[in-house]
Subunit: 197 residues, 2 copies
């Protein structure tokens, strides 16, 4: 019976996501969000509840559409270390070239910012970290099974270390690091994993 929405909520969410990603939750005003999504305050609040809820939805959407596919590709790749290399290469390309260059990672930005104060956001960030480490760990197990790794390399610690490295890449890409530098740095780091003890 009712009137129906004059816009696509999914597309509005994605546009809002980009604003939050680039500018952060605090700096993304409702005015900017309405301009970016094309819908007005009423529709925005009726659809998403509040700015904070919209941010959370956008963050979850980001993770679902950007992080998770990358994690899955990493974990399911049968090649081992080359999969890790490709993960970093793809990451660096995304961070330093194309429409999102210099935006960093929305999850990493949230970790450093005021967003981090919200318990719900913190929970999402913690889960994201667990999943990232798990994906690295799986890829490292594959690598080990193929004899690509130094024999005494501890997988859990190495996975955690790679996660921190990825955070560093995301962070530094936001403050002007070049793709070239980042690629050489990560490539070398992965090299050290293959050295024999």
């Amino acid at each position: 019976m009712p009137d129906v929405k004059h816009f696509d909520p999914q597309e509005a969410l994605e546009r809002a996501e980009r604003v939050f990603w680039q500018h952060g939750s605090a700096a993304a005003s409702v005015q900017v969000l309405t301009a970016a999504t094309g819908l007005n305050r009423s529709s925005l609040y009726a659809t998403f509840g509040s700015k904070q809820e919209l941010y959370l939805a956008a963050l979850r959407h980001y993770i679902g559409t950007t992080s998770h596919p990358a994690f899955r590709a990493l974990a399911e790749d049968e090649r081992g270390l080359p999969a890790v290399r490709d993960f970093f290469d793809g990451l660096i390309t995304l961070r330093c070239t194309g429409p999102y260059a210099g935006w960093g990672c929305m999850v990493v930005n949230a970790q450093a910012g005021t967003e981090n104060a919200d318990p719900q956001v913190r929970a999402v960030l913690a889960e994201h970290h667990t999943q990232l480490c798990a994906a690295f760990r799986t890829a490292l197990e594959t690598a080990r099974a193929q004899g690509q790794l130094s024999p005494d390399l501890p997988l859990a610690e190495t996975a955690e270390s790679l996660a921190l490295l990825a955070y560093g890449v995301n962070l530094h890409s936001r403050s002007g690091a070049t793709a070239d530098t980042l690629r050489r740095t990560t490539a070398h780091t992965l090299d050290t994993l293959t050295r024999k003890a």
Copy 2:
């Protein structure tokens, strides 16, 4: 002839620094800053010009009193790799225990946040990165001279990699990482540098 300040500008700057460090530039309102420093709006503006200038001064003070001494200790330490280990241990202790636990690094927070939009801030961040890498590089050269490193380890890339690792530690410490986990992760990472090719 004139009246003299009724407060110590240096101490006010340090109190403001802690507010910016913990909450970021945007979330630190002038009201909170006046409460933290104990001086009122007039004195604050007369002394520091504007909130943005105060932030910049605080950031520079942070780097001068927190980062630089650590960089110097790292670069001047004659022991090589143990100096790097101690650098990370001290960093993790600062980030996870004591009065500043969970605050992360003011510089890293600035990289991910809105502060990063200001060209002057960006310049400070870039210089900080250069100095951090240089300190790592010097320590690695010392380590190499003492035969502590894998022979074919590229120093520049390794230094950059360690810098990214430090960023990751700082970032992750702000979103709840435990000192124990961070220490095991960094300790393992440093182990990989000593493996023979």
